[in-house]
Protein backbone atom coordinates (compact mmCIF):
# COMPACT_ATOMS: atom_id res chain seq x y z
CA UNK A 1 0.00 0.00 0.00
CA UNK A 2 1.64 3.17 -1.12
CA UNK A 3 1.02 6.29 0.97
CA UNK A 4 1.05 9.56 -0.89
CA UNK A 5 2.82 11.56 1.76
CA UNK A 6 2.98 14.79 -0.19
CA UNK A 7 -0.80 15.08 -0.34
CA UNK A 8 -1.27 14.51 3.35
CA UNK A 9 1.15 16.94 4.90
CA UNK A 10 0.57 20.65 5.09
CA UNK A 11 3.40 22.85 6.23
CA UNK A 12 2.44 25.84 8.35
CA UNK A 13 3.59 27.84 11.30
CA UNK A 14 2.30 26.98 14.74
CA UNK A 15 0.84 30.45 15.04
CA UNK A 16 -1.26 30.06 11.93
CA UNK A 17 -2.43 26.64 12.99
CA UNK A 18 -3.46 27.89 16.40
CA UNK A 19 -5.23 30.89 14.95
CA UNK A 20 -7.01 28.69 12.44
CA UNK A 21 -8.22 26.48 15.24
CA UNK A 22 -9.31 29.35 17.44
CA UNK A 23 -11.05 31.08 14.60
CA UNK A 24 -13.55 28.29 14.05
CA UNK A 25 -14.26 27.46 17.65
CA UNK A 26 -15.30 30.73 19.20
CA UNK A 27 -17.59 29.77 22.03
CA UNK A 28 -19.83 32.65 23.07
CA UNK A 29 -21.00 33.31 26.59
CA UNK A 30 -24.78 33.44 26.86
CA UNK A 31 -24.90 36.81 28.41
CA UNK A 32 -27.85 39.01 27.55
CA UNK A 33 -28.36 42.32 29.25
CA UNK A 34 -31.33 43.74 27.38
CA UNK A 35 -33.19 43.92 24.09
CA UNK A 36 -30.27 42.88 21.88
CA UNK A 37 -30.06 39.53 23.66
CA UNK A 38 -33.26 38.50 21.90
CA UNK A 39 -31.60 39.00 18.56
CA UNK A 40 -28.72 36.92 19.81
CA UNK A 41 -31.14 34.09 20.60
CA UNK A 42 -32.49 34.38 17.06
CA UNK A 43 -28.93 34.20 15.75
CA UNK A 44 -28.68 30.83 17.43
CA UNK A 45 -32.00 29.52 16.14
CA UNK A 46 -32.60 27.76 12.84
CA UNK A 47 -33.21 30.79 10.62
CA UNK A 48 -29.80 32.38 11.09
CA UNK A 49 -27.88 29.47 12.60
CA UNK A 50 -24.58 30.79 13.82
CA UNK A 51 -23.42 27.17 14.18
CA UNK A 52 -22.30 27.41 10.56
CA UNK A 53 -19.42 29.55 11.76
CA UNK A 54 -18.23 27.24 14.48
CA UNK A 55 -19.84 29.24 17.21
CA UNK A 56 -22.87 27.27 18.28
CA UNK A 57 -21.68 26.16 21.70
CA UNK A 58 -23.09 28.96 23.80
CA UNK A 59 -21.78 28.48 27.30
CA UNK A 60 -23.46 29.79 30.41
CA UNK A 61 -20.21 29.62 32.36
CA UNK A 62 -17.52 32.22 31.73
CA UNK A 63 -14.81 29.63 32.40
CA UNK A 64 -15.67 27.78 29.23
CA UNK A 65 -16.31 30.70 26.93
CA UNK A 66 -14.02 32.63 24.57
CA UNK A 67 -16.31 35.36 23.40
CA UNK A 68 -18.20 37.77 25.57
CA UNK A 69 -21.11 39.22 23.69
CA UNK A 70 -22.27 42.27 25.59
CA UNK A 71 -25.79 42.58 24.20
CA UNK A 72 -27.68 45.43 25.73
CA UNK A 73 -27.49 48.42 27.99
CA UNK A 74 -24.78 48.33 30.63
CA UNK A 75 -25.85 50.06 33.80
CA UNK A 76 -23.65 51.23 36.62
CA UNK A 77 -25.16 48.66 38.93
CA UNK A 78 -24.36 45.86 36.49
CA UNK A 79 -20.85 47.05 35.59
CA UNK A 80 -18.98 45.25 38.43
CA UNK A 81 -20.60 41.95 37.45
CA UNK A 82 -19.66 42.39 33.81
CA UNK A 83 -16.08 43.12 34.72
CA UNK A 84 -15.94 40.16 37.07
CA UNK A 85 -17.36 37.80 34.47
CA UNK A 86 -14.87 39.13 31.94
CA UNK A 87 -12.01 38.47 34.31
CA UNK A 88 -13.27 34.97 34.99
CA UNK A 89 -12.98 34.06 31.33
CA UNK A 90 -9.81 32.23 30.34
CA UNK A 91 -7.39 33.66 27.77
CA UNK A 92 -7.65 34.09 24.86
CA UNK A 93 -10.89 36.03 25.01
CA UNK A 94 -12.69 38.51 22.85
CA UNK A 95 -15.53 40.96 23.30
CA UNK A 96 -18.24 42.06 20.91
CA UNK A 97 -20.22 45.14 21.89
CA UNK A 98 -23.60 44.31 20.37
CA UNK A 99 -25.99 47.19 19.93
CA UNK A 100 -25.85 50.93 20.31
CA UNK A 101 -26.15 50.84 24.09
CA UNK A 102 -23.14 48.56 24.46
CA UNK A 103 -21.15 50.69 21.99
CA UNK A 104 -21.91 54.17 23.27
CA UNK A 105 -24.83 54.14 25.70
CA UNK A 106 -27.29 54.64 22.86
CA UNK A 107 -30.34 56.77 23.53
CA UNK A 108 -29.95 56.39 27.26
CA UNK A 109 -27.92 59.38 28.28
CA UNK A 110 -28.82 59.02 31.91
CA UNK A 111 -27.52 58.86 35.43
CA UNK A 112 -27.31 55.09 35.65
CA UNK A 113 -26.07 54.02 32.22
CA UNK A 114 -22.40 53.42 31.41
CA UNK A 115 -21.79 55.23 28.14
CA UNK A 116 -20.21 52.33 26.30
CA UNK A 117 -18.93 49.01 27.56
CA UNK A 118 -15.40 49.92 26.41
CA UNK A 119 -15.15 52.10 29.51
CA UNK A 120 -14.66 48.98 31.60
CA UNK A 121 -13.46 46.18 29.30
CA UNK A 122 -11.60 46.15 25.96
CA UNK A 123 -13.83 45.65 22.94
CA UNK A 124 -12.83 43.93 19.69
CA UNK A 125 -15.87 44.47 17.47
CA UNK A 126 -18.57 47.13 17.73
CA UNK A 127 -21.99 46.43 16.21
CA UNK A 128 -24.27 49.47 16.05
CA UNK A 129 -28.04 49.26 15.74
CA UNK A 130 -30.96 49.43 18.09
CA UNK A 131 -31.18 46.48 18.09
CA UNK A 132 -28.88 45.17 15.33
CA UNK A 133 -30.38 42.50 13.13
CA UNK A 134 -29.37 38.91 13.95
CA UNK A 135 -27.42 38.79 10.70
CA UNK A 136 -25.15 41.52 11.99
CA UNK A 137 -24.02 39.11 14.67
CA UNK A 138 -22.70 36.92 11.88
CA UNK A 139 -20.92 39.90 10.33
CA UNK A 140 -19.38 40.69 13.67
CA UNK A 141 -18.31 37.09 14.08
CA UNK A 142 -16.67 37.04 10.65
CA UNK A 143 -14.88 40.30 11.43
CA UNK A 144 -13.69 38.79 14.66
CA UNK A 145 -12.48 35.69 12.86
CA UNK A 146 -10.50 37.89 10.50
CA UNK A 147 -8.97 39.56 13.50
CA UNK A 148 -8.11 36.28 15.17
CA UNK A 149 -6.47 35.06 11.96
CA UNK A 150 -4.04 37.94 12.01
CA UNK A 151 -3.18 37.74 15.66
CA UNK A 152 0.39 36.97 16.69
CA UNK A 153 1.49 35.49 19.97
CA UNK A 154 3.33 38.69 20.86
CA UNK A 155 0.31 40.92 20.46
CA UNK A 156 -2.03 39.26 22.86
CA UNK A 157 -1.19 40.28 26.35
CA UNK A 158 -1.87 38.06 29.28
CA UNK A 159 -3.02 40.84 31.53
CA UNK A 160 -6.72 41.35 31.10
CA UNK A 161 -7.77 44.61 32.65
CA UNK A 162 -7.46 47.68 30.42
Amino acid sequence: MGVDIERNIVVTSIEKLVNWGRKYSVWPLTFGLACCALEFIVAGSATIDMARFGSEVARPSPRQADLMLVAGTLTKKMAPMVKRIYEQMAEPKWVIAFGSCACTGGIFKSYNVVQGVDQIIPVDVYVPGCPPRPESFLTALIKLQEKIEKETVKERKLITAP
Binding site: T30, F31, G32, L33, A34, C35, A37, L38, E39, I41, V42, S45, A46, T47, P60, P62, G72, T73, T75, K77, M78, M81, I85, I107, F108, K109, S110, Y111, N112, V113, C130, P131, R133
Partner: protein
Protein backbone atom coordinates in the same frame (compact mmCIF):
# COMPACT_ATOMS: atom_id res chain seq x y z
CA UNK B 1 -28.84 20.71 67.37
CA UNK B 2 -28.12 23.86 65.47
CA UNK B 3 -29.45 24.09 61.97
CA UNK B 4 -28.15 26.49 59.37
CA UNK B 5 -29.63 27.49 56.09
CA UNK B 6 -27.54 27.66 52.98
CA UNK B 7 -27.69 30.82 50.94
CA UNK B 8 -27.16 30.60 47.23
CA UNK B 9 -26.95 33.39 44.75
CA UNK B 10 -28.66 33.04 41.40
CA UNK B 11 -27.84 35.61 38.78
CA UNK B 12 -27.57 38.34 37.61
CA UNK B 13 -25.77 36.42 34.91
CA UNK B 14 -27.80 33.25 34.72
CA UNK B 15 -29.25 31.61 31.63
CA UNK B 16 -32.66 30.92 33.14
CA UNK B 17 -33.46 34.25 34.75
CA UNK B 18 -34.45 35.85 31.43
CA UNK B 19 -32.16 38.79 31.81
CA UNK B 20 -30.32 40.29 34.69
CA UNK B 21 -32.43 39.22 37.63
CA UNK B 22 -30.63 38.22 40.79
CA UNK B 23 -32.19 35.95 43.37
CA UNK B 24 -30.86 35.21 46.81
CA UNK B 25 -32.20 31.87 47.94
CA UNK B 26 -32.04 30.58 51.48
CA UNK B 27 -32.21 26.82 51.39
CA UNK B 28 -33.03 24.13 53.87
CA UNK B 29 -31.66 21.17 51.96
CA UNK B 30 -33.32 21.67 48.62
CA UNK B 31 -36.34 23.47 49.96
CA UNK B 32 -36.54 27.22 49.66
CA UNK B 33 -37.04 28.98 52.95
CA UNK B 34 -36.75 32.53 51.73
CA UNK B 35 -36.21 34.13 48.37
CA UNK B 36 -35.14 37.72 47.88
CA UNK B 37 -35.14 39.12 44.36
CA UNK B 38 -32.63 41.87 43.63
CA UNK B 39 -33.54 43.96 40.64
CA UNK B 40 -32.34 47.16 39.05
CA UNK B 41 -29.45 45.79 37.02
CA UNK B 42 -31.05 47.25 33.93
CA UNK B 43 -32.29 50.51 35.43
CA UNK B 44 -31.79 53.01 32.65
CA UNK B 45 -33.73 55.93 34.03
CA UNK B 46 -36.52 55.90 31.44
CA UNK B 47 -38.92 57.75 33.71
CA UNK B 48 -36.40 60.53 34.14
CA UNK B 49 -35.42 60.64 30.48
CA UNK B 50 -39.09 60.83 29.50
CA UNK B 51 -39.34 64.13 31.33
CA UNK B 52 -36.54 65.60 29.24
CA UNK B 53 -38.14 64.93 25.84
CA UNK B 54 -41.19 66.29 24.09
CA UNK B 55 -44.25 64.09 23.88
CA UNK B 56 -43.42 62.87 20.38
CA UNK B 57 -39.79 62.22 21.20
CA UNK B 58 -40.48 60.23 24.36
CA UNK B 59 -42.17 57.54 22.27
CA UNK B 60 -38.89 55.78 21.46
CA UNK B 61 -38.25 54.96 25.10
CA UNK B 62 -41.45 52.95 25.32
CA UNK B 63 -40.27 50.32 22.81
CA UNK B 64 -37.34 49.50 24.96
CA UNK B 65 -39.29 48.83 28.15
CA UNK B 66 -40.71 45.44 27.41
CA UNK B 67 -38.65 44.78 24.36
CA UNK B 68 -40.57 41.69 23.34
CA UNK B 69 -43.58 43.87 22.96
CA UNK B 70 -42.71 47.23 21.43
CA UNK B 71 -46.01 47.93 19.71
CA UNK B 72 -48.25 47.48 22.75
CA UNK B 73 -45.96 49.76 24.71
CA UNK B 74 -46.22 52.37 21.96
CA UNK B 75 -49.97 52.03 22.06
CA UNK B 76 -50.25 52.47 25.81
CA UNK B 77 -48.19 55.63 25.66
CA UNK B 78 -50.07 57.02 22.66
CA UNK B 79 -53.42 56.32 24.33
CA UNK B 80 -52.34 58.32 27.35
CA UNK B 81 -51.20 61.29 25.29
CA UNK B 82 -54.29 61.14 23.08
CA UNK B 83 -56.44 61.21 26.18
CA UNK B 84 -54.45 64.19 27.39
CA UNK B 85 -54.77 66.07 24.11
CA UNK B 86 -58.39 64.97 23.45
CA UNK B 87 -57.77 63.42 20.06
CA UNK B 88 -60.25 61.13 18.39
CA UNK B 89 -58.56 58.32 16.47
CA UNK B 90 -60.01 57.19 13.13
CA UNK B 91 -61.41 53.68 13.02
CA UNK B 92 -58.90 52.46 10.45
CA UNK B 93 -55.98 53.46 12.65
CA UNK B 94 -57.59 51.71 15.61
CA UNK B 95 -57.95 48.50 13.63
CA UNK B 96 -54.35 48.67 12.40
CA UNK B 97 -53.27 49.15 15.99
CA UNK B 98 -55.26 46.14 17.13
CA UNK B 99 -53.82 43.93 14.39
CA UNK B 100 -50.27 44.97 15.17
CA UNK B 101 -50.66 44.63 18.93
CA UNK B 102 -52.15 41.17 18.65
CA UNK B 103 -49.39 40.11 16.26
CA UNK B 104 -46.94 41.40 18.81
CA UNK B 105 -48.71 39.47 21.55
CA UNK B 106 -48.34 36.30 19.51
CA UNK B 107 -44.64 37.03 19.03
CA UNK B 108 -44.18 37.73 22.74
CA UNK B 109 -46.03 34.61 23.82
CA UNK B 110 -44.04 32.51 21.36
CA UNK B 111 -40.83 33.86 22.80
CA UNK B 112 -42.10 32.99 26.25
CA UNK B 113 -43.13 29.52 25.11
CA UNK B 114 -39.77 28.79 23.53
CA UNK B 115 -37.61 30.01 26.38
CA UNK B 116 -39.85 28.63 29.13
CA UNK B 117 -39.81 25.19 27.54
CA UNK B 118 -36.06 25.45 26.99
CA UNK B 119 -35.56 26.22 30.68
CA UNK B 120 -37.44 23.07 31.57
CA UNK B 121 -35.46 20.95 29.15
CA UNK B 122 -37.81 20.79 26.17
CA UNK B 123 -35.54 22.26 23.53
CA UNK B 124 -37.54 21.33 20.44
CA UNK B 125 -40.30 23.76 21.30
CA UNK B 126 -37.86 26.64 21.02
CA UNK B 127 -37.19 25.91 17.36
CA UNK B 128 -40.86 25.39 16.60
CA UNK B 129 -41.92 28.58 18.35
CA UNK B 130 -39.16 30.67 16.80
CA UNK B 131 -40.16 29.50 13.34
CA UNK B 132 -43.55 31.21 13.71
CA UNK B 133 -42.12 34.11 15.67
CA UNK B 134 -39.85 34.92 12.75
CA UNK B 135 -42.89 34.94 10.47
CA UNK B 136 -44.66 37.39 12.74
CA UNK B 137 -41.58 39.56 12.99
CA UNK B 138 -41.27 39.51 9.20
CA UNK B 139 -44.81 40.89 8.92
CA UNK B 140 -44.10 43.51 11.57
CA UNK B 141 -40.86 44.40 9.86
CA UNK B 142 -42.60 44.67 6.50
CA UNK B 143 -44.95 47.35 7.76
CA UNK B 144 -42.91 49.09 10.46
CA UNK B 145 -39.36 48.62 9.21
CA UNK B 146 -38.02 47.15 12.43
CA UNK B 147 -38.14 43.80 14.13
CA UNK B 148 -38.08 44.55 17.82
CA UNK B 149 -38.35 48.28 18.38
CA UNK B 150 -40.72 49.61 15.75
CA UNK B 151 -41.85 52.95 17.30
CA UNK B 152 -44.62 52.66 14.76
CA UNK B 153 -47.58 54.15 16.61
CA UNK B 154 -47.83 57.89 16.49
CA UNK B 155 -49.74 60.22 18.71
CA UNK B 156 -52.96 60.43 16.71
CA UNK B 157 -52.65 57.26 14.66
CA UNK B 158 -49.97 55.15 13.07
CA UNK B 159 -46.88 56.10 11.09
CA UNK B 160 -48.08 54.80 7.73
CA UNK B 161 -51.00 53.07 6.11
CA UNK B 162 -51.12 49.32 5.53
CA UNK B 163 -51.27 47.97 1.99
CA UNK B 164 -52.79 44.94 0.32
CA UNK B 165 -49.52 43.03 0.60
CA UNK B 166 -49.65 43.39 4.37
CA UNK B 167 -53.25 42.19 4.44
CA UNK B 168 -52.28 39.20 2.33
CA UNK B 169 -49.36 38.30 4.58
CA UNK B 170 -51.46 38.58 7.73
CA UNK B 171 -54.25 36.47 6.24
CA UNK B 172 -51.81 33.76 5.26
CA UNK B 173 -50.36 33.71 8.75
CA UNK B 174 -53.74 33.71 10.48
CA UNK B 175 -54.97 30.77 8.44
CA UNK B 176 -51.93 28.70 9.17
CA UNK B 177 -51.29 29.57 12.79
CA UNK B 178 -53.99 27.47 14.59
CA UNK B 179 -52.38 24.33 13.17
CA UNK B 180 -49.05 25.44 14.56
CA UNK B 181 -50.52 25.96 18.02
CA UNK B 182 -51.81 22.38 17.83
CA UNK B 183 -48.25 21.35 17.06
CA UNK B 184 -46.89 23.03 20.18
CA UNK B 185 -49.66 21.53 22.25
CA UNK B 186 -48.91 17.99 21.08
CA UNK B 187 -45.39 18.51 22.33
CA UNK B 188 -46.30 19.80 25.76
CA UNK B 189 -49.91 19.78 26.94
CA UNK B 190 -50.19 16.08 27.71
CA UNK B 191 -46.47 15.49 28.04
CA UNK B 192 -45.95 13.66 31.32
CA UNK B 193 -42.54 15.22 32.01
CA UNK B 194 -43.91 18.68 31.31
CA UNK B 195 -46.84 18.10 33.64
CA UNK B 196 -44.60 16.79 36.41
CA UNK B 197 -42.50 19.91 36.16
CA UNK B 198 -45.43 22.31 36.10
CA UNK B 199 -48.61 21.01 37.77
CA UNK B 200 -48.97 22.30 41.31
CA UNK B 201 -45.80 24.38 41.11
CA UNK B 202 -45.59 28.08 41.99
CA UNK B 203 -49.19 28.35 43.12
CA UNK B 204 -50.68 31.71 44.02
CA UNK B 205 -54.26 32.10 45.18
CA UNK B 206 -56.83 34.53 43.83
CA UNK B 207 -56.81 36.86 46.82
CA UNK B 208 -53.05 36.96 47.07
CA UNK B 209 -52.65 37.59 43.37
CA UNK B 210 -54.96 40.58 43.61
CA UNK B 211 -53.24 41.87 46.71
CA UNK B 212 -49.85 41.66 45.00
CA UNK B 213 -51.19 43.62 42.06
CA UNK B 214 -50.49 40.74 39.70
CA UNK B 215 -52.07 41.20 36.27
CA UNK B 216 -52.13 39.49 32.92
CA UNK B 217 -52.03 35.74 32.29
CA UNK B 218 -50.61 35.09 35.77
CA UNK B 219 -53.68 36.66 37.40
CA UNK B 220 -56.07 34.95 35.02
CA UNK B 221 -54.44 31.58 35.67
CA UNK B 222 -55.50 32.06 39.30
CA UNK B 223 -59.08 32.40 38.11
CA UNK B 224 -59.59 36.16 38.24
CA UNK B 225 -61.47 37.60 35.31
CA UNK B 226 -59.55 40.76 34.56
CA UNK B 227 -58.44 41.71 31.11
CA UNK B 228 -58.02 45.40 30.29
CA UNK B 229 -59.29 44.71 26.78
CA UNK B 230 -62.65 43.68 28.25
CA UNK B 231 -62.75 45.72 31.45
CA UNK B 232 -61.71 49.09 30.03
CA UNK B 233 -61.89 48.65 26.25
CA UNK B 234 -59.57 50.77 24.16
CA UNK B 235 -58.80 51.03 20.47
CA UNK B 236 -62.06 49.34 19.38
CA UNK B 237 -61.52 46.08 21.24
CA UNK B 238 -65.25 46.07 21.96
CA UNK B 239 -65.84 45.38 18.24
CA UNK B 240 -64.24 41.96 18.37
CA UNK B 241 -65.53 38.66 19.55
CA UNK B 242 -63.08 36.86 21.79
CA UNK B 243 -63.10 35.34 25.23
CA UNK B 244 -60.71 35.62 28.12
CA UNK B 245 -59.24 32.25 29.10
CA UNK B 246 -59.14 31.55 32.84
CA UNK B 247 -57.22 29.01 34.86
CA UNK B 248 -58.27 27.33 38.07
CA UNK B 249 -55.29 26.41 40.19
CA UNK B 250 -52.94 29.33 39.61
CA UNK B 251 -49.94 27.08 39.03
CA UNK B 252 -47.31 27.04 36.31
CA UNK B 253 -49.31 24.60 34.20
CA UNK B 254 -52.42 26.78 34.26
CA UNK B 255 -50.39 29.78 33.20
CA UNK B 256 -49.14 27.73 30.30
CA UNK B 257 -52.68 26.75 29.33
CA UNK B 258 -53.96 30.31 29.64
CA UNK B 259 -51.23 31.63 27.35
CA UNK B 260 -51.81 28.89 24.80
CA UNK B 261 -55.49 29.84 24.72
CA UNK B 262 -54.55 33.50 24.42
CA UNK B 263 -52.56 32.68 21.31
CA UNK B 264 -55.73 31.27 19.75
CA UNK B 265 -57.81 34.24 20.88
CA UNK B 266 -55.28 36.72 19.50
CA UNK B 267 -55.43 34.87 16.24
CA UNK B 268 -59.23 35.21 16.24
CA UNK B 269 -59.01 38.94 16.91
CA UNK B 270 -56.55 39.44 14.07
CA UNK B 271 -58.68 37.52 11.61
CA UNK B 272 -61.74 39.59 12.52
CA UNK B 273 -59.83 42.85 12.36
CA UNK B 274 -58.14 42.12 9.05
CA UNK B 275 -61.48 41.17 7.48
CA UNK B 276 -63.30 44.18 8.83
CA UNK B 277 -60.60 46.81 8.40
CA UNK B 278 -62.46 49.99 7.42
CA UNK B 279 -61.42 52.51 4.80
CA UNK B 280 -60.46 56.00 5.87
CA UNK B 281 -57.56 58.02 7.19
CA UNK B 282 -54.91 56.43 9.38
CA UNK B 283 -54.19 59.59 11.33
CA UNK B 284 -56.37 61.87 13.35
CA UNK B 285 -57.19 65.30 12.04
CA UNK B 286 -55.52 67.43 14.68
CA UNK B 287 -52.91 69.57 12.91
CA UNK B 288 -51.56 71.14 16.09
CA UNK B 289 -50.62 67.81 17.60
CA UNK B 290 -50.35 65.07 15.00
CA UNK B 291 -47.36 64.85 12.68
CA UNK B 292 -48.31 65.23 8.99
CA UNK B 293 -48.18 62.28 6.61
CA UNK B 294 -44.73 61.48 5.29
CA UNK B 295 -45.76 61.78 1.63
CA UNK B 296 -47.11 65.28 2.25
CA UNK B 297 -43.94 66.28 4.04
CA UNK B 298 -41.90 65.42 0.98
CA UNK B 299 -44.14 67.27 -1.48
CA UNK B 300 -45.89 70.07 0.40
CA UNK B 301 -44.01 72.96 1.97
CA UNK B 302 -46.77 73.68 4.50
CA UNK B 303 -46.66 70.10 5.75
CA UNK B 304 -42.88 70.26 5.95
CA UNK B 305 -43.02 73.36 8.12
CA UNK B 306 -45.64 71.76 10.31
CA UNK B 307 -43.51 68.62 10.65
CA UNK B 308 -40.56 70.72 11.80
CA UNK B 309 -42.65 72.70 14.21
CA UNK B 310 -44.19 69.71 15.90
CA UNK B 311 -41.08 67.54 15.85
CA UNK B 312 -38.81 70.25 17.23
CA UNK B 313 -41.04 72.33 19.44
CA UNK B 314 -43.61 69.73 20.39
CA UNK B 315 -47.11 70.69 21.41
CA UNK B 316 -48.56 72.02 24.61
CA UNK B 317 -51.43 70.02 26.06
CA UNK B 318 -53.60 71.42 28.82
CA UNK B 319 -52.59 71.09 32.45
CA UNK B 320 -53.97 67.72 33.45
CA UNK B 321 -53.13 64.19 34.51
CA UNK B 322 -54.14 61.02 32.75
CA UNK B 323 -53.76 57.30 33.15
CA UNK B 324 -54.19 54.96 30.22
CA UNK B 325 -53.47 51.29 30.14
CA UNK B 326 -53.46 48.39 27.74
CA UNK B 327 -53.41 44.65 28.14
CA UNK B 328 -49.81 43.91 27.27
CA UNK B 329 -48.76 40.25 27.02
CA UNK B 330 -47.38 40.51 30.56
CA UNK B 331 -50.34 42.27 32.12
CA UNK B 332 -51.69 45.75 32.58
CA UNK B 333 -49.22 48.24 31.19
CA UNK B 334 -50.19 51.77 32.13
CA UNK B 335 -48.85 55.24 31.61
CA UNK B 336 -49.59 57.94 34.15
CA UNK B 337 -48.71 61.27 32.61
CA UNK B 338 -48.86 64.54 34.51
CA UNK B 339 -48.76 67.58 32.27
CA UNK B 340 -47.91 71.04 33.54
CA UNK B 341 -48.92 72.69 30.28
CA UNK B 342 -45.44 72.65 28.75
CA UNK B 343 -44.27 70.61 25.77
CA UNK B 344 -42.61 68.00 27.97
CA UNK B 345 -44.27 65.60 30.39
CA UNK B 346 -43.98 66.75 33.99
CA UNK B 347 -44.18 63.20 35.28
CA UNK B 348 -43.67 60.20 33.06
CA UNK B 349 -44.78 57.26 35.14
CA UNK B 350 -44.86 53.75 33.77
CA UNK B 351 -46.94 51.11 35.51
CA UNK B 352 -44.92 48.01 34.71
CA UNK B 353 -46.81 44.71 34.88
CA UNK B 354 -43.71 42.52 35.24
CA UNK B 355 -42.52 44.54 38.25
CA UNK B 356 -45.58 43.65 40.30
CA UNK B 357 -45.79 40.12 38.92
CA UNK B 358 -42.21 39.55 40.00
CA UNK B 359 -42.91 40.94 43.47
CA UNK B 360 -45.15 37.92 44.00
CA UNK B 361 -42.36 35.50 43.10
CA UNK B 362 -41.03 34.99 46.66
CA UNK B 363 -44.55 34.08 47.76
CA UNK B 364 -44.88 31.58 44.91
CA UNK B 365 -41.63 29.72 45.46
CA UNK B 366 -41.39 29.59 49.23
CA UNK B 367 -41.46 25.98 50.34
CA UNK B 368 -40.74 24.69 46.85
CA UNK B 369 -37.67 23.00 45.43
CA UNK B 370 -34.78 24.83 43.80
CA UNK B 371 -35.57 23.36 40.40
CA UNK B 372 -39.08 24.78 40.59
CA UNK B 373 -37.71 28.31 40.81
CA UNK B 374 -36.76 28.08 37.14
CA UNK B 375 -40.22 26.86 36.20
CA UNK B 376 -41.89 29.62 38.19
CA UNK B 377 -39.72 32.45 36.84
CA UNK B 378 -40.38 31.22 33.32
CA UNK B 379 -44.10 31.07 33.92
CA UNK B 380 -44.33 34.66 35.19
CA UNK B 381 -42.73 35.74 31.92
CA UNK B 382 -40.73 38.66 33.18
CA UNK B 383 -38.84 41.15 31.07
CA UNK B 384 -36.20 43.03 32.98
CA UNK B 385 -36.27 46.07 30.73
CA UNK B 386 -39.73 46.78 32.01
CA UNK B 387 -39.14 45.89 35.63
CA UNK B 388 -36.10 48.11 35.98
CA UNK B 389 -37.05 50.77 33.41
Amino acid sequence: METTFMTINMGPQHPATHGVLRLLLELDGETIVKATPHIGYLHRGVEKLGETRTYHQALVFTDRLDYTNGLSNNLAYCLAIEKLADIEIPKRAQYIRVILCELQRIAAHLLWLGTHALDLGAMTVLFYAFREREKVLDIIEYITGARLTPSFMRIGGVARDVDSEFVKKVKEFVNEFPKRIDEYETLLTENIIWKKRTVGIGVISKEEAISYGVTGPVLRASGVYYDVRKAHPYSSYEDFDFFVPLGKNGDVYDRYLVRMQELRQSNRIISQAIEGIPEGPFKANAPQVVLPEKDDVQTDIAALIRQFKIAQGGFRPEKAEVYASVEAPKGELGFYIVSDGSEKPFRFRIRPPSFLNLSALPRMIEGQMVADVIATIGSIDIVLGEIDR
